[in-house]
């Protein structure tokens, strides 16, 4: 009897031993003379269950996890039935069943590098629909969907595309920002490793919409697995005719390349990314000119985050209206929340905008991994604010977080328990900014260094330095050229605002 077993090849699953599990499955099947097909899928996103082994049954896929290589013989003995690690039907696990998977519909389900699998699960139908539309129609569809930049800035994607569409130039570009450097985020990595063709399809649709024939994915070097999978996916897409001089047999050309970053966090800022892609120092450019008009090599360029582009295919597959019917206020559609840090059920949870922060952390995430009370959640990466428990009723949306002097960023949430030292976290924010500053503007370059020094003074019990810190943060917020210097005050000031006792003179006394 033939069996189909899935063991993820996602980097998180591999970091937790998935390769050894896969090898054990192959070895055990061979030793028992069983006909087993092993598929290395992406992750479903339930990272606390990784490595999550799935078996195809008549009634759907059933899961076991977290599995170690040592568990594999016993799983075979149990004929993948009754076993202590049995989780039942994977899609009925509450964490998964509660989600609205649009962008991540195929992630974890299919063989990431099989275009056959991809098409069988709705892939390419969005692009085929776009091929029957004109440029105006394509851009209008994106505008109507309400999609906003998922990298963090939340700029309406359709408006950006429209600017590039209307620009006259011999060459235009689609640049995908895959420099996902924010701690607490891994959605880009997960989709690139688990469903790479959806990003390629999204970029091809963007190319059709704005009249660009060349695309680049600027992918951080810290993601070697994603680089490997994307590079191979691009190669296969060319062979298939999805990329090249004639996209799916049409009169339209679109091709793309994967480019590796080089460890600079600031290159996640779009203008710095463009400089880096051109082979320059990753220094931030002043805006205007907008990249939409003078971007890569001075030409009109769409710069979009991975998730923005990877969401485009489902918008075209199901229609703009279907997508925009999800969400809250001006935050339309779904958002892949990345629940991380000190949390019991860490992973990716795609849901419509609007879920309150507390529900995400306490109910979906299950509270802390340590079992201690939650102290704060940093939302939006190293430039995002720390939200204490009393802000947990904030619904997850762009404007809603802005109203709390916070930001959703790339939708990563890092949970901290009550042992977190908020002064140390504030100091780290400044230190990180000092390490990663591109050096172009003074408030960021000098301010971050002074910020570390000032926080050290506060740590030594110099309460008077709090006022200096506040003033410095104002200067960085108002005077920095980009979000690195401009947003570093978010974590610093939120820590100070919500946990003032940790910045006071009594801190030193208490420590002694």
């Amino acid at each position: 009897m033939s069996m189909k077993i899935y063991v993820p090849a996602d980097a998180a699953a591999r970091a937790l031993g998935a390769d050894a599990v896969a090898a054990a499955v192959t070895a055990e099947a061979k030793a028992r003379g069983l006909d087993v097909t092993l598929v290395r899928n992406g992750t479903r996103g339930m990272i606390w269950l990784e490595p999550l082994l799935e078996v195809e049954t008549e009634t759907g896929r059933t899961g076991f996890g977290p599995v170690t290589a040592e568990d594999v013989p016993a799983l075979f003995d149990a004929a993948f039935g009754d076993h202590a690690l049995a989780l039942g039907p994977v899609e009925q696990i509450p964490y998964f069943a509660k989600q609205t998977r649009l962008t991540f519909a195929r992630c974890g389900l299919i063989d990431p590098l099989s275009l056959e699998d991809y098409e069988a699960h709705g892939g390419l139908s969005g692009l085929r629909r776009a091929l029957d539309m004109d440029r105006d129609g394509i851009v209008q569809e994106v505008t109507d969907s309400g999609l906003r930049g998922r990298g963090g800035a939340g700029f309406p994607t359709g408006i950006k595309w429209n600017t590039v569409k209307d620009a006259e130039a011999p060459q235009k570009y689609i640049v995908c920002n895959a420099d996902e450097g924010d701690s607490g985020t891994f959605a880009d990595r997960m989709i690139m490793e688990g469903d790479p063709f959806t990003l390629i399809e999204g970029m091809a649709i963007a190319g059709l919409g704005v009249g660009a024939t060349k695309g680049y994915v600027y992918l951080r070097s810290e993601y070697p697995d994603a680089i490997r999978v994307m590079t191979e996916a691009v190669r296969r897409a060319r062979v298939f005719g999805l990329l090249g001089d004639s996209v799916l047999g049409s009169a339209h050309a679109f091709d793309m390349e994967i480019r590796s970053g080089a460890g600079a966090y600031v290159c996640g800022e779009e203008t710095s990314l463009l400089n880096s892609l051109e082979g320059k120092r990753g220094i931030v450019r002043a805006k205007p000119p907008l990249p939409a008009l003078e971007g890569f090599l001075g030409r009109p360029t769409v710069v979009n985050n991975v998730i923005s582009l990877a969401t485009v295919p489902v918008i075209f597959e199901k229609g703009a209206e279907h997508y925009r019917d999800f969400g809250l206020g001006r935050s339309r559609g779904t958002i892949p929340l990345q629940i991380a840090g000190n949390v019991k059920y860490g992973g990716l949870f795609e849901t419509a905008f609007g879920m309150p922060l507390g529900e995400i952390v306490e109910e979906i995430g299950g509270g802390t991994a340590s079992g201690r009370p939650v102290k704060a959640v940093q939302v939006g990466g190293p430039l995002g604010a720390y939200l204490p428990v009393h802000q947990f009723d904030t619904p997850f949306g762009y404007e809603e977080f802005d109203g709390q002097k916070a930001l959703i960023g790339h939708a990563g949430l890092v949970v901290f328990d009550d042992t977190a030292d908020m002064l140390a976290m504030a100091r780290f924010a400044m230190e990180f900014c000092a390490i990663e500053s591109c050096g172009k503007c003074t408030p960021c370059r000098i301010g971050a260094v002074r910020g570390v020094e000032t926080l050290d003074r506060i740590g030594r019990g110099d309460g008077g330095a709090v006022e200096i810190l506040t003033d410095l943060c104002d200067t960085m917020t108002d005077g920095s050229l980009c979000a690195l210097g401009g947003f570093t005050p978010y974590p610093v000031m939120s820590a100070l605002r919500h946990f003032p006792e940790e910045f006071s003179v009594s801190r030193k006394v208490a420590a002694e």
């Binding site: 980097a11 891994f186 966090y265 120092r281």
Partner: protein, 158 residues
Amino acid sequence: MSPSTSEAPTARIEEIIAEHRHLEGPMLPIFHALQEEFDHVPEAALAPIADALNLTRAEVHGVMSFYHDFRKAPPGRHVVKICRAEACQSMGSEALAARALEKAGLDWHATSPDGRVTVEPVYCLGLCACAPAAMVGDKLHARLNEARLDKILAEARS
């Protein structure tokens, strides 16, 4: 075992430059390819890159030195990158790393005297839901604890 800068074969450097110079924005792909080949970007490569791309040597050096990834000299045989970003910190990575480094007699950015291991900080490996995390070469490790991190460092040094 690693070639010193002066020994980096000029012919191979020229080949790597030639393989990439047709690209739009070829500088970073050239640096990556050189580092892949030599474990660092040889000083001797800067002048030929400048020639090929019609830039000054200072500009090429300026680009190379901007990025954390590009090295002037070969690292230890194994490079261990330990994540120091917030998600790993929330799971105690700072204390974990400090203890392991002290025990191993190593420091951030330092190479062991026997040249076997270099330890570097990294700010996020995208393993934030299974922190703390580290990377040895291209191999990832997550949910680290004292025993596992000690083992990783010991293996890297053996």
